[in-house]
Symmetry: C2
Subunit: 191 residues, 2 copies
């Protein structure tokens, strides 16, 4: 395989470093070291750490498999469940750590960077929209409570998921995931 | 009023600085400057920034008015609602910013500090326990769905709240609070 471009290597390293350490703790030098490129090369490719964080956020969003939420060949409740199972399994694979980059930046940096706030906002908005679409499908199929507003519910599920990640990391326990799945699927959405 | 002790001034400044900027972005020098004390005095009072963060977390928890959740003179649903309204109003007063110190540290630093993870864990556990007690009161009074497991539900509400704060800050909008109150009280808890 050909060596990736230097820019690409910086983006991949940044995504990993931001996700593991957060925005402030990830220094440009840490990122270029991780990418195996000279620190001086950074500013040939990116105007600032913020600009790079925005690209990393986009890359992170691309990995969320949001398209699966619109896959009409899968029953809507199963589709929503599989989506959150995918996100949970990502956490379990790394020992319940790192959380969600959108939530992490949302908690750490959106008050201080309009650039990053814009990126997090887009990521959260697209996610909620995709979830809302799947909820509507479930309501039409009769497998999701019809009196729930799909947009309000989608936003609530995003909130519940982000808080679940915070608690799972804090307790270093998968019990919090179980609570999320139990309440969401056995009570909240159930007709 | 007598001048507060230097230690107390450092704790108050640290709480404010950590809450505004996060753990990593709050340098010891920022905290001592904010407290108006010499930087050198810091290590007379605290072993490390982590040790101070733990004290600040305790102080933050004391300000959550969790005791109100056990006030049996108030109807349980009204009690839970008033609790979250208090937390929401704190955010509205500062232009929807800063979020919850427990959630912020949970997203930023628990993977990297066992000391702080312990403090966040205690804070979240006590909060969920108090909420669970209020939920049980509501179930006994018939104003909360009886088939909900109170511990699972309390944990879910904590998650939903923490994620709501992240989204409210990101969208700089109170709509996310409205979604939280609407779904929690008009659907999730309703018998």
């Amino acid at each position: 395989m050909a060596r990736q471009s230097m820019r690409e290597e910086i983006v991949e390293a940044a995504l990993a470093q931001f996700h593991e350490r957060g925005f402030n703790a990830a220094a440009v030098k840490d990122i270029t070291d991780r990418a195996g490129v000279p620190k001086g090369s950074f500013y040939n490719h990116f105007e600032s750490k913020e600009a790079l964080a925005l690209v990393a956020l986009g890359r992170y969003g691309d990995g969320r498999r949001l398209g699966d939420l619109a896959d009409k060949s899968v029953e809507p409740v199963a589709r929503i469940r599989a989506h959150f199972e995918f996100l949970r399994d990502e956490q379990l694979e790394v020992g319940i750590a790192k959380g969600c980059l959108l939530g992490n930046f949302g908690a750490e940096i959106v008050d201080h960077s309009e650039t990053i706030r814009g990126g997090v906002r887009s990521g959260l908005a697209i996610w909620a929209e995709m979830l809302s679409g799947a909820l509507v499908d479930g309501q039409q199929a009769g497998s999701i409570r019809k009196d729930l507003d799909p947009d309000v519910t989608a936003r609530y599920l995003v909130s519940a998921w982000e808080g679940t990640l915070i608690q799972a990391r804090t307790f270093k326990s998968a019990d919090v995931f179980d609570s999320f799945f139990d309440l969401t699927f056995n009570s909240l959405l159930k007709p």
